[in-house]
């Protein structure tokens, strides 16, 4: 690229191509190389409807500071070919400031891309790849991308060596040569963006939200997982399966979700912290048994990596629309905990915290992640070690007449586990008296309902119930993966002199009316941001909290995540 490149703090690059073109591989290598060079970044991907081998795009946002959401528009798209590339137009959001580099030998630019007004240039990507023995176009594209943002060749070469180590020297050399050809070819193109890495101090990780959730679970003490594969949650299981073995635990692939949830209830009844991961359809199947865990007071953690709904919906895309179900999906009065990570990195903290909460209160805890958080790969600072671990109140020396469901001050009753002599009891989903014996008496029902509700409301959640930031007459109230675009928009607004407060709920149930009121003190208007169609989050807020008089609602279903500009526009409207 030309030397006229201006300094930027964040650049968005996309590499797309048909099945087998290796766009995603190139994107992943670029992310890692950038991270090695000290940059932060976020990698998301999109694919066509084909099961395998369809068109794909890797979208990279690279930045000089941590980034947690998609940027407003794509600065540079490199198309290895044009195969159905228009499918990704909405996702990329090209504009007149964008540059699109296509293959010089390729057919016409797809309409959606041409219409975007982006500047379109051609480079002989395929030809350059062919010019190298064993060279592949995606490595040429990688070279172009690296040159565009000023990444040194060495960073990429190191990455090539690591990725292709098993393929042999020839493959490595071919890739290096193709990379060099791409970098060289790009030099003639004018692209005004350069990123200067910050002084690298922190240890950096590259991790997806699903991996982070898995690690958080193990850090929190989970040693048993039962689950049934489902998009986009499967990576949690695939990461945890071998890891659990190493950590002395185990994973059972269940025959269905009805089995998974009951297996983890069984394991946890046995004293072993247990988790399952699923998505909307799977959680729906589990609800009856979530009720069992609530009534029998057996802690379990359920991660729901949300996707587009209803029904099978859009399995590969993100949405926040399982909120209703997670909060209210059980029959009967069924208090339980619902938490949601606010970023890719926070998937670790929140899942670990979820294990802690579940075990401390002997209650099922649902972690509402989503496809975006779960499958995006982010470069993050190494997450801090936190003290939250499974810490169940176990009665190791039960007195004569042990009562499993005794009424206690904090609502939590010390629990025995099999193996503890004299602590035998029968856990039951039927309403019961303190000893656990089934009872239809009004008094038993009322006092057990009270205890199961009280233990959640009396618990001290500390500051973790929400992320609160800034001050101002307007508060943006949001949660989950909508937090990052909100946060970014607020930063832009502040830079423009508009004071806005962020309140991102991590604890969605039980509600914290006092803390919420405190957080909203002085706030006059609120902008509620959520990725649903029917406004599930706002309805939840209305039901549970006193909101300021004036409410603006930014509410849009998937498949597209919010961008900072969407939220910024709403902030300006709400102002």
């Amino acid at each position: 690229m030309t030397t006229s490149a201006t300094e930027r703090t964040s650049v968005v690059l996309a590499i797309n191509g048909s099945g087998g073109a290796g766009a995603i591989t190139a994107g992943s290598m670029l992310l890692k190389a950038a991270a090695r060079a000290g940059l932060y970044g976020l990698l998301t991907r999109a694919v066509g409807p084909q099961i395998r081998g369809g068109e794909a795009v890797a979208i990279l946002r690279l930045a000089t500071a941590p980034v947690e959401c998609a940027a407003d528009r794509c600065d540079l798209q490199i198309a290895i070919d044009w195969m159905n590339a228009d499918r990704f137009a909405a996702e990329l959001n090209l504009g007149p400031e964008s540059l699109v580099i296509g293959d010089a030998a390729a057919e016409e630019v797809p309409e959606a891309i041409a219409e975007s007004g982006a500047r379109i240039e051609a480079l002989p990507i395929a030809e350059l790849a062919k010019s190298v023995k064993g060279g592949r176009p995606n490595m040429v594209a990688l070279g172009i991308a690296a040159a565009a943002i000023g990444l040194p060749a060495e960073a990429l070469e190191a990455e090539i060596v690591e990725t292709l180590s098993s393929k042999g020297e020839a493959a490595i050399e071919a890739s290096k040569a193709a990379l060099a050809a791409g970098m060289e070819a790009a030099s003639g193109i004018d692209f005004a963006a350069k990123l200067t890495p910050p002084d690298k101090k922190e240890k950096r990780w590259i991790i997806s939200g699903n991996e982070a959730a898995g690690l958080g679970a193990i850090r929190g003490g989970v040693r048993f997982v039962a689950a049934y594969p489902i998009t986009p949650a499967t990576e949690i299981l695939e990461w945890m399966s071998p890891a659990l073995v190493k950590a002395g635990g185990s994973l059972v692939q269940a025959e269905d979700e009805l089995a998974s949830i009951n297996m983890i209830i069984g394991a946890s009844y046995g004293g072993v912290p247990a988790l399952t991961a699923t998505s909307g359809p799977g959680l729906a199947l589990m609800l009856e048994s979530v009720g069992l865990a609530i009534a029998s007071e057996v802690p379990v953690v359920i991660v729901d990596v949300m996707r587009g709904g209803p029904s099978t919906g859009i399995p590969t895309k993100s949405e926040q629309s399982d909120l209703n179900m997670a909060l209210n999906g059980c029959h009967g009065d069924a208090p339980h905990i619902v938490v949601a990570p606010t970023s890719v990195a926070d998937c670790l903290f929140t899942t670990q915290w979820a294990v802690h909460l579940a075990e401390a209160m002997q209650v099922p805890t649902i972690v509402l992640s989503d496809q975006f958080l779960g499958q995006a790969k982010a470069v993050i600072d190494r997450p801090a070690d936190v003290a939250f671990i499974a810490n169940r109140k176990v009665e190791t020396a039960p007195a004569e007449g042990y009562r499993r469901y005794a009424i206690t001050a904090d609502g939590v009753s010390p629990m025995t586990v099999p193996g503890i002599a004299g602590g035998q009891y029968t856990a039951d989903g039927l309403e019961h008296n303190p000893r656990g014996t089934p009872s239809t008496a009004a008094g038993d029902h009322a006092s057990q309902l009270d205890k199961r509700a009280d233990k959640l409301t009396k618990f001290d959640y500390g500051q973790h119930w929400a992320e609160i930031d800034g001050d101002g007459p307007l508060a943006v109230i949001t949660w989950g993966s909508s937090t990052a675009p909100a946060r970014e928009a607020i930063e832009i607004a502040r830079a423009q002199g508009i004071d806005v407060k962020l309140v991102a709920l991590r604890l969605l149930a039980p509600s914290r009316p006092d803390a919420f009121a405190e957080a909203l003190k002085g706030v006059e208007r609120a902008l509620v941001v959520e990725q649903t169609h029917s406004g599930q989050f706002l309805r939840h807020l209305r039901a549970e909290y006193d909101l300021p008089g004036e409410i603006t609602h930014l509410c849009r279903p998937g498949p597209l995540n919010f961008r900072a500009q969407d939220v910024l526009a709403a902030i300006k409207e709400a102002k």
Binding site: L215, K246, S250, A259, S260, N262, G422, T426, A427
Partner: protein, 280 residues
């Protein structure tokens, strides 16, 4: 509950809780409870190392009546509960108790997969060929011409579900049939089933005197299996498919190795171990 007396030998009484069963007078499940406690006493298993888990139904009320650990779960999921418990705590003795509705209707899928997994559980189904708890509807094992339920006015007309054949076809490694009226015989079968390594299935014919008073006749129909147990599944299948449905005893006992979860190659690692994978 009383702490377990460690010094003297345990008797069946030591395995009984003080909770009064809700069962109808004469229900077969009383004897099954007796058989379980007798088997546990025979094996002298400390009550606190035993867990009885169940689903929903008259039969599934059994855990609370034993002085062991227990879990009265939801309808149809007892095997999944038991699987999780046993995999997480392999040193425990886990008995899964169920009924023909709980186990073969709503719980049929877990039955298939539990047999296949061959986890070291003992699965006891009290088969009374009816939904007792919900007041008398046909279950999968009900005879096609049983016409006492409004839900199937002239009878279901359906071929009854054959639990033992299904167990065998799905890989159960121990398959037996018992009759609740024979408390000691059933106890002996349960004790064998518990000792069997792998998934053991004991179908107990246990009359529902309220909704199937005709089942009082079972007492006259049952008889010990005339042949020795076999370890050849194809032969066992043939036998069971052609027998009269009333011969009791171990009908199959194979040597398939029980499910064993993967174990770490080296010492168990701390969570920090996994960080290297993500560090740039």
């Amino acid at each position: 509950m009383d702490a377990t007396p460690m010094s003297e030998a345990l008797t069946p009484r030591d395995y009984k809780s003080d909770i009064k069963p809700v069962w109808c007078p004469g229900c077969g499940d009383y004897s099954v409870l007796g058989s379980i406690t007798t088997a546990l006493a025979e094996l002298q298993l400390p009550p606190e190392d035993v867990a009885v888990v169940s689903g929903i139904g008259c039969s599934s009320r059994i855990p609370a009546y034993a002085n062991t650990y227990g879990f009265h779960g939801v309808h149809g999921r007892s095997l999944a509960l038991g699987t999780g418990l046993k995999v997480a705590r392999p040193e425990l003795t886990v008995i899964v108790a169920s009924g023909d509705g709980d186990g073969f209707s709503i719980g049929g899928n877990h039955f298939l997969h539990a047999c296949r997994r061959n986890i070291d559980l003992t699965y006891i189904v009290m088969d009374n060929r009816v939904y007792g708890m919900t007041k008398g509807q046909p279950s999968p094992t009900t005879e096609p011409d049983w016409a006492e339920s409004a839900l199937a006015p002239g009878g279901t007309g359906l071929r009854p579900f054959h639990p033992l054949v299904i167990a065998l076809a799905s890989g159960a490694s121990f398959v037996a049939r018992a009759f609740s009226g024979d408390l000691l015989g059933t106890a002996a079968l349960i004790a064998e089933a518990i000792q069997h390594e792998g998934f053991s299935f004991v179908e107990i014919l246990s009359p529902c005197v309220t909704f199937r008073p005709d089942e009082r006749e079972w007492r006259k129909q049952v008889h010990p299996s005339p042949v020795e147990p076999t370890d050849d599944p194809a032969r066992a299948a043939r036998r069971i498919m052609t027998d009269d449905g009333f011969n009791t005893g171990i009908l199959f006992s194979g040597e398939r190795s029980a499910y064993a979860p993967a174990r770490p190659e080296g010492p168990v690692v701390e969570p920090a171990y996994f960080e290297a994978e993500f560090a740039v």
